[in-house]
């Protein structure tokens, strides 16, 4: 096996890993916001909000991520929806933004289902007790339901973060210079296939494994309160 390419192209991996991490952080952030909004819409008593949320979730979960990425990055500009240039952050900001938007839209649907299940798993008596004291819906959510729901959903949510990190590799097909894209670049330059891909896989594994350990620590901390 030949790993000599590392001395020359090692910094490709550093740069790729950096972009993969940035992509993941943005996607997790926006995905969770979209997810919370969709989950509350789905649990709302207004049937229009509920319908929009269910339709969104079913559609996103029922179509491939690759198609969604293409639609956002190539489809939307044709309709006149163009992400603005932002040369300070990246020389190809619209494309990067498109990737984040597509990944967030996708992840939001899964996060919504996780949060919905977590909220519904909180005993109805908890809401009733808070409401009977005179607490309005939002205070009840904020202080009674969501803290308990959060504890329930943490493992599933952590899992979703790991999925996001791995699935972000799909945006290599639209030329985002993340880890997978860099590995492919090295493959093209060196005509080596196995080595460059195995190194990328190992980096992905180190990232997901650390994330999973980190989430385990957070989970144990939260359970210590019981």
């Amino acid at each position: 096996m030949n790993f000599s390419f590392l001395s020359e192209y090692g910094y490709f991996y550093v740069e790729g890993t950096r972009i993969t991490i940035i992509l993941t952080i943005f996607t997790v952030f926006f995905g969770v916001i979209i997810g919370i909004i969709l989950a509350l819409m789905r649990l709302s008593k207004f049937s229009l909000l509920k319908f929009i949320s269910v339709a969104y979730i079913e559609f996103i979960r029922g179509t491939p991520l690759l198609v969604q990425v293409y639609i956002v990055v190539y489809g939307l500009p044709q309709l006149g929806i163009i992400f603005p240039e932002f040369p300070l952050l990246s020389d190809d900001f619209p494309r990067f933004m498109g990737a984040v938007v597509a990944l967030s839209i996708n992840s939001g649907a899964y996060v919504a289902e996780i949060i919905r299940a977590g909220i519904q798993a909180v005993d109805k008596g908890q809401t009733e007790a808070a409401r009977s004291l005179g607490m309005p819906y939002w205070l009840t959510m904020r202080y009674v339901v969501l803290p308990q729901a959060f504890k329930n959903i943490l493992p599933a949510l952590g899992n979703e973060f790991i999925v996001v990190l791995k699935e972000s590799s799909i945006v290599s097909v639209i030329g985002i210079g993340e880890l997978m894209f860099r590995a492919n670049t090295i493959r093209g330059i060196t005509f080596l296939a196995f080595g460059p891909l195995v190194v990328a896989a190992l980096i992905y594994f180190v990232l997901t494994f650390s994330l999973s350990k980190l989430l385990g620590v957070v989970e144990r901390r939260m359970r210590a309160g019981d």
Partner: protein, 240 residues
Amino acid sequence: MIEIKGLHKHFGKLHVLRGIDNFIKKGEVVCIIGPSGSGKSTFLRCLNLLEQPTGGEIIFEGISITDKKTDINILRQRIGMVFQQFNLFPHMTVMDNITLAPMKLKGMTRQDAEAMAMKLLKRVGLEEKASSYPGQLSGGQKQRIAIVRALAMAPDVMLFDEPTSSLDPEMVGEVLDVMKTLASEGMTMVVVTHEMGFAREVGDRILFMDEGVIREEGTPAELFGNPRHPRTREFLSKVL
């Protein structure tokens, strides 16, 4: 204090409350008894709108609870409720359970709220549990804390939904004792209960509910001593 006029409640096709009229006076202890499925709990839960009535009207201190324009959250601050399953917040200490609503709703400072909570905890003999979590308490202790949590809002009336039904027998007494003290202090109370001894001893008025209506009502002496309706007699012969 609370006037109930022609109260109806449907759950889908199920007609649970079929026209209830009553008047609960200030300082009165009203016990609601009756077979399971008779609508006792549903009736009680309508009084603070945990169940939305499908017909009729409830007037609390001159304000219509059932009016859509009424801010029910304000009224609920004055109507305490104690549940069969306690429903303490498991992620908070006993102290935080008690002080959450007074701090968030009445703008009490933490210091004032905690001082008040300690006073109430002393009354039920649980001041040393202030920093415990609900999971560390026995059923009887949980229910006494739940009563304190409701009292912390200084309500005008307390609703009890089978407060001793999920307790081990040896813990029923400690909860009933707290309720008796409360009654002797003049708290207006509406209690759905299976504890006939408590109803007889503490109740000013007993409502016997059956198939969604109040079949019979009267003082404990009248209702337990001389039940007039055959359904009341049948029920009492089974439980006494």
